[in-house]
Symmetry: C2
DNA sequence: AATAAAATTAGAATTATTCTAAATCAAAGA
DNA sequence: TCTTTGATTTAGAATAATTCTAATTTTATT
Protein backbone atom coordinates (compact mmCIF):
# COMPACT_ATOMS: atom_id res chain seq x y z
CA UNK A 1 0.00 0.00 0.00
CA UNK A 2 1.50 3.30 -1.07
CA UNK A 3 1.78 6.48 0.98
CA UNK A 4 -1.02 8.09 -0.97
CA UNK A 5 -3.30 5.11 -0.57
CA UNK A 6 -2.67 5.07 3.17
CA UNK A 7 -3.38 8.77 3.46
CA UNK A 8 -6.55 8.54 1.44
CA UNK A 9 -7.78 5.72 3.61
CA UNK A 10 -6.97 7.74 6.69
CA UNK A 11 -8.86 10.75 5.34
CA UNK A 12 -11.91 8.62 4.67
CA UNK A 13 -11.78 7.05 8.11
CA UNK A 14 -11.21 10.35 9.86
CA UNK A 15 -14.14 12.05 8.21
CA UNK A 16 -17.66 11.81 9.53
CA UNK A 17 -18.93 13.29 6.29
CA UNK A 18 -19.03 11.41 3.07
CA UNK A 19 -16.34 12.78 0.83
CA UNK A 20 -16.22 12.93 -2.93
CA UNK A 21 -13.02 12.26 -4.85
CA UNK A 22 -12.61 16.00 -5.24
CA UNK A 23 -12.92 16.65 -1.52
CA UNK A 24 -10.49 13.89 -0.70
CA UNK A 25 -8.12 15.37 -3.22
CA UNK A 26 -8.28 18.76 -1.51
CA UNK A 27 -7.52 17.25 1.89
CA UNK A 28 -4.72 15.09 0.56
CA UNK A 29 -3.18 18.15 -1.02
CA UNK A 30 -2.79 19.73 2.41
CA UNK A 31 0.13 17.48 3.20
CA UNK A 32 1.16 16.48 -0.28
CA UNK A 33 1.16 19.54 -2.54
CA UNK A 34 2.13 17.61 -5.62
CA UNK A 35 -0.77 15.19 -5.94
CA UNK A 36 -3.10 15.25 -8.80
CA UNK A 37 -6.76 14.35 -8.97
CA UNK A 38 -6.13 11.33 -11.17
CA UNK A 39 -4.00 9.81 -8.44
CA UNK A 40 -6.88 10.10 -6.04
CA UNK A 41 -9.17 8.39 -8.53
CA UNK A 42 -6.58 5.69 -9.16
CA UNK A 43 -6.14 5.00 -5.49
CA UNK A 44 -9.84 5.10 -4.74
CA UNK A 45 -10.48 2.64 -7.54
CA UNK A 46 -7.84 0.32 -6.18
CA UNK A 47 -9.01 0.65 -2.57
CA UNK A 48 -12.53 -0.05 -3.76
CA UNK A 49 -11.47 -3.09 -5.71
CA UNK A 50 -9.67 -4.38 -2.63
CA UNK A 51 -12.84 -3.87 -0.63
CA UNK A 52 -11.25 -1.33 1.68
CA UNK A 53 -13.65 1.50 0.99
CA UNK A 54 -17.28 1.77 0.19
CA UNK A 55 -18.68 3.85 -2.63
CA UNK A 56 -22.01 5.56 -2.39
CA UNK A 57 -23.68 6.71 -5.52
CA UNK A 58 -26.78 8.82 -5.48
CA UNK A 59 -28.51 10.38 -8.43
CA UNK A 60 -27.35 13.87 -9.05
CA UNK A 61 -24.29 13.73 -6.85
CA UNK A 62 -20.75 12.58 -7.47
CA UNK A 63 -19.82 9.28 -5.92
CA UNK A 64 -18.90 9.57 -2.28
CA UNK A 65 -16.62 7.35 -0.26
CA UNK A 66 -17.13 5.81 3.11
CA UNK A 67 -15.67 3.30 5.50
CA UNK A 68 -16.75 -0.31 5.10
CA UNK A 69 -18.37 -0.92 8.45
CA UNK A 70 -21.90 -2.14 7.67
CA UNK A 71 -24.28 0.73 8.20
CA UNK A 72 -27.07 2.40 6.30
CA UNK A 73 -27.70 5.84 4.94
CA UNK A 74 -30.28 8.53 5.12
CA UNK A 75 -30.39 10.77 2.10
CA UNK A 76 -32.36 13.97 1.88
CA UNK A 77 -34.39 14.06 -1.33
CA UNK A 78 -34.18 17.80 -1.33
CA UNK A 79 -30.57 18.77 -0.63
CA UNK A 80 -28.77 15.45 -1.06
CA UNK A 81 -27.31 15.47 2.44
CA UNK A 82 -26.15 12.03 3.39
CA UNK A 83 -26.01 10.78 6.96
CA UNK A 84 -25.28 7.52 8.65
CA UNK A 85 -27.81 5.43 10.44
CA UNK A 86 -27.08 2.18 12.22
CA UNK A 87 -29.78 -0.43 11.70
CA UNK A 88 -29.60 -4.15 12.26
CA UNK A 89 -27.43 -6.01 9.77
CA UNK A 90 -29.72 -7.69 7.26
CA UNK A 91 -27.13 -9.75 5.41
CA UNK A 92 -28.02 -13.11 6.94
CA UNK A 93 -31.74 -12.50 6.76
CA UNK A 94 -31.44 -11.59 3.10
CA UNK A 95 -29.33 -14.65 2.38
CA UNK A 96 -31.99 -16.86 3.87
CA UNK A 97 -34.87 -15.06 2.22
CA UNK A 98 -33.32 -15.04 -1.23
CA UNK A 99 -31.11 -18.11 -1.24
CA UNK A 100 -28.54 -16.01 -3.06
CA UNK A 101 -24.91 -15.76 -1.92
CA UNK A 102 -25.06 -12.08 -1.10
CA UNK A 103 -21.83 -10.14 -0.78
CA UNK A 104 -23.24 -7.04 0.81
CA UNK A 105 -26.11 -4.65 0.47
CA UNK A 106 -26.80 -1.01 0.41
CA UNK A 107 -29.85 0.49 2.07
CA UNK A 108 -30.58 4.10 1.36
CA UNK A 109 -33.50 5.75 3.07
CA UNK A 110 -35.07 8.77 1.41
CA UNK A 111 -36.47 11.52 3.54
CA UNK A 112 -36.52 15.28 3.91
CA UNK A 113 -34.00 16.50 6.43
CA UNK A 114 -34.81 18.90 9.28
CA UNK A 115 -33.22 21.86 7.55
CA UNK A 116 -35.19 21.35 4.36
CA UNK A 117 -38.41 20.62 6.25
CA UNK A 118 -38.14 23.97 7.97
CA UNK A 119 -37.02 26.01 5.00
CA UNK A 120 -40.04 25.06 2.90
CA UNK A 121 -38.25 25.87 -0.34
CA UNK A 122 -39.86 23.53 -2.85
CA UNK B 1 -48.79 15.43 -19.34
CA UNK B 2 -47.35 15.78 -22.83
CA UNK B 3 -47.23 13.17 -25.56
CA UNK B 4 -43.54 12.62 -24.99
CA UNK B 5 -43.92 12.25 -21.25
CA UNK B 6 -46.70 9.71 -21.74
CA UNK B 7 -44.63 7.74 -24.20
CA UNK B 8 -41.59 7.77 -21.98
CA UNK B 9 -43.64 6.52 -19.06
CA UNK B 10 -45.10 3.80 -21.26
CA UNK B 11 -41.62 2.74 -22.40
CA UNK B 12 -40.46 2.47 -18.80
CA UNK B 13 -43.50 0.48 -17.77
CA UNK B 14 -43.31 -1.80 -20.76
CA UNK B 15 -39.67 -2.71 -20.21
CA UNK B 16 -38.58 -5.43 -17.88
CA UNK B 17 -35.03 -4.17 -18.12
CA UNK B 18 -33.84 -1.00 -16.48
CA UNK B 19 -33.33 1.57 -19.17
CA UNK B 20 -30.93 4.48 -19.25
CA UNK B 21 -31.91 7.86 -20.66
CA UNK B 22 -30.06 6.96 -23.84
CA UNK B 23 -31.93 3.68 -24.26
CA UNK B 24 -35.25 5.35 -23.63
CA UNK B 25 -34.31 7.95 -26.20
CA UNK B 26 -33.63 5.28 -28.80
CA UNK B 27 -37.00 3.63 -28.20
CA UNK B 28 -38.87 6.91 -28.20
CA UNK B 29 -37.25 7.76 -31.51
CA UNK B 30 -38.89 4.73 -33.08
CA UNK B 31 -42.24 6.49 -33.18
CA UNK B 32 -41.10 10.08 -32.91
CA UNK B 33 -38.14 10.65 -35.24
CA UNK B 34 -37.70 14.24 -34.24
CA UNK B 35 -36.99 13.90 -30.52
CA UNK B 36 -33.75 14.89 -29.03
CA UNK B 37 -31.93 13.46 -26.05
CA UNK B 38 -32.40 16.64 -24.01
CA UNK B 39 -36.16 16.20 -24.23
CA UNK B 40 -35.85 12.77 -22.75
CA UNK B 41 -33.76 14.14 -19.90
CA UNK B 42 -36.23 16.97 -19.37
CA UNK B 43 -39.17 14.64 -19.23
CA UNK B 44 -37.42 12.13 -17.04
CA UNK B 45 -36.50 14.87 -14.61
CA UNK B 46 -40.06 16.06 -14.50
CA UNK B 47 -41.50 12.57 -14.13
CA UNK B 48 -39.01 11.93 -11.38
CA UNK B 49 -39.91 15.12 -9.57
CA UNK B 50 -43.58 14.18 -9.80
CA UNK B 51 -42.74 10.81 -8.29
CA UNK B 52 -43.89 8.90 -11.35
CA UNK B 53 -40.62 7.13 -12.05
CA UNK B 54 -37.84 5.75 -9.97
CA UNK B 55 -34.19 6.43 -10.64
CA UNK B 56 -31.52 3.89 -9.89
CA UNK B 57 -27.95 5.02 -9.65
CA UNK B 58 -25.07 2.60 -9.35
CA UNK B 59 -21.41 3.43 -9.40
CA UNK B 60 -19.96 3.16 -12.85
CA UNK B 61 -23.27 3.05 -14.69
CA UNK B 62 -25.53 5.78 -16.00
CA UNK B 63 -28.70 6.33 -14.05
CA UNK B 64 -31.42 3.88 -14.96
CA UNK B 65 -35.16 4.34 -14.73
CA UNK B 66 -37.77 2.06 -13.30
CA UNK B 67 -41.41 1.93 -12.34
CA UNK B 68 -42.30 3.04 -8.84
CA UNK B 69 -43.79 -0.16 -7.48
CA UNK B 70 -41.81 -0.87 -4.30
CA UNK B 71 -39.31 -3.60 -5.04
CA UNK B 72 -35.64 -4.18 -4.52
CA UNK B 73 -32.67 -4.76 -6.75
CA UNK B 74 -29.92 -7.23 -7.20
CA UNK B 75 -26.81 -5.81 -8.76
CA UNK B 76 -23.89 -7.88 -9.99
CA UNK B 77 -20.62 -6.46 -8.68
CA UNK B 78 -18.88 -7.81 -11.71
CA UNK B 79 -20.94 -6.89 -14.76
CA UNK B 80 -23.38 -4.36 -13.32
CA UNK B 81 -26.45 -6.34 -14.37
CA UNK B 82 -29.49 -5.15 -12.48
CA UNK B 83 -32.46 -7.34 -11.70
CA UNK B 84 -35.60 -7.02 -9.69
CA UNK B 85 -36.32 -8.90 -6.52
CA UNK B 86 -39.49 -8.66 -4.53
CA UNK B 87 -38.89 -8.64 -0.80
CA UNK B 88 -41.22 -7.54 1.95
CA UNK B 89 -41.85 -3.80 2.09
CA UNK B 90 -39.80 -2.38 4.93
CA UNK B 91 -41.17 1.16 4.93
CA UNK B 92 -43.33 0.83 8.03
CA UNK B 93 -40.73 -1.15 9.93
CA UNK B 94 -38.12 1.48 9.15
CA UNK B 95 -40.44 4.29 10.19
CA UNK B 96 -40.96 2.63 13.55
CA UNK B 97 -37.31 1.76 14.03
CA UNK B 98 -36.02 5.19 13.16
CA UNK B 99 -38.86 7.51 14.12
CA UNK B 100 -38.13 9.39 10.92
CA UNK B 101 -40.85 10.25 8.38
CA UNK B 102 -39.43 8.13 5.62
CA UNK B 103 -40.54 8.76 2.07
CA UNK B 104 -39.16 5.62 0.50
CA UNK B 105 -36.05 3.52 0.50
CA UNK B 106 -33.77 1.82 -1.87
CA UNK B 107 -32.27 -1.59 -1.16
CA UNK B 108 -29.58 -2.78 -3.48
CA UNK B 109 -28.11 -6.21 -2.96
CA UNK B 110 -24.62 -6.88 -4.24
CA UNK B 111 -23.77 -10.31 -5.54
CA UNK B 112 -22.09 -12.06 -8.43
CA UNK B 113 -24.56 -13.19 -11.04
CA UNK B 114 -24.68 -16.73 -12.47
CA UNK B 115 -23.02 -15.74 -15.72
CA UNK B 116 -20.10 -14.07 -13.99
CA UNK B 117 -19.80 -16.88 -11.45
CA UNK B 118 -19.36 -19.38 -14.27
CA UNK B 119 -17.12 -17.32 -16.48
CA UNK B 120 -14.48 -16.88 -13.79
CA UNK B 121 -13.03 -13.81 -15.48
CA UNK B 122 -11.70 -11.76 -12.59
C1' DA C 1 -56.19 35.65 -34.42
C1' DA C 2 -53.10 37.37 -30.64
C1' DT C 3 -50.84 36.45 -26.47
C1' DA C 4 -48.85 33.88 -23.01
C1' DA C 5 -46.95 29.84 -21.17
C1' DA C 6 -44.89 25.52 -21.62
C1' DA C 7 -42.27 22.17 -24.22
C1' DT C 8 -38.86 21.09 -27.41
C1' DT C 9 -34.76 21.68 -30.11
C1' DA C 10 -29.86 22.40 -31.06
C1' DG C 11 -25.86 22.64 -29.52
C1' DA C 12 -22.60 24.40 -26.23
C1' DA C 13 -21.07 23.79 -21.50
C1' DT C 14 -20.20 21.42 -17.38
C1' DT C 15 -19.08 17.70 -14.32
C1' DA C 16 -17.32 13.48 -13.11
C1' DT C 17 -14.43 10.20 -14.41
C1' DT C 18 -11.23 7.48 -17.28
C1' DC C 19 -7.51 6.92 -20.32
C1' DT C 20 -2.86 7.42 -22.41
C1' DA C 21 1.69 8.20 -22.50
C1' DA C 22 5.59 9.92 -20.37
C1' DA C 23 8.11 10.53 -16.12
C1' DT C 24 9.25 9.06 -11.61
C1' DC C 25 9.82 5.94 -7.91
C1' DA C 26 10.70 1.51 -5.42
C1' DA C 27 12.19 -3.06 -4.81
C1' DA C 28 15.26 -6.83 -6.15
C1' DG C 29 19.07 -8.83 -8.20
C1' DA C 30 23.74 -8.52 -10.32
C1' DT D 1 25.87 0.56 -5.66
C1' DC D 2 24.02 0.24 -10.44
C1' DT D 3 20.53 -1.57 -13.27
C1' DT D 4 16.41 -3.54 -14.49
C1' DT D 5 11.61 -4.22 -14.01
C1' DG D 6 7.27 -3.13 -12.59
C1' DA D 7 4.20 -0.17 -10.20
C1' DT D 8 2.80 4.57 -9.27
C1' DT D 9 2.13 9.07 -10.38
C1' DT D 10 1.70 13.00 -13.32
C1' DA D 11 -0.21 15.88 -16.97
C1' DG D 12 -3.38 16.57 -19.80
C1' DA D 13 -6.45 14.93 -23.35
C1' DA D 14 -10.64 12.24 -23.97
C1' DT D 15 -15.06 10.48 -22.88
C1' DA D 16 -19.59 9.92 -20.96
C1' DA D 17 -23.47 11.58 -18.73
C1' DT D 18 -26.03 15.26 -17.85
C1' DT D 19 -27.37 20.12 -17.63
C1' DC D 20 -27.89 24.62 -19.42
C1' DT D 21 -29.06 28.46 -22.58
C1' DA D 22 -31.32 30.59 -25.98
C1' DA D 23 -34.05 30.27 -29.91
C1' DT D 24 -38.02 28.03 -31.84
C1' DT D 25 -42.16 25.52 -31.86
C1' DT D 26 -46.30 23.97 -29.88
C1' DT D 27 -50.21 24.31 -27.02
C1' DA D 28 -53.57 26.50 -24.41
C1' DT D 29 -55.99 30.90 -23.32
C1' DT D 30 -58.14 35.34 -24.21
Amino acid sequence: MTENAKRILKIIHASSEHLSAEQIFLRLKEDNQGVVLATVYNNLASLYKQGLVRKISAEGYPDRYDNIRQHDHLICKNCGKLSDIQLEDLTEKLREQTGIPILSYDLKIHYICEDCRNTQSS
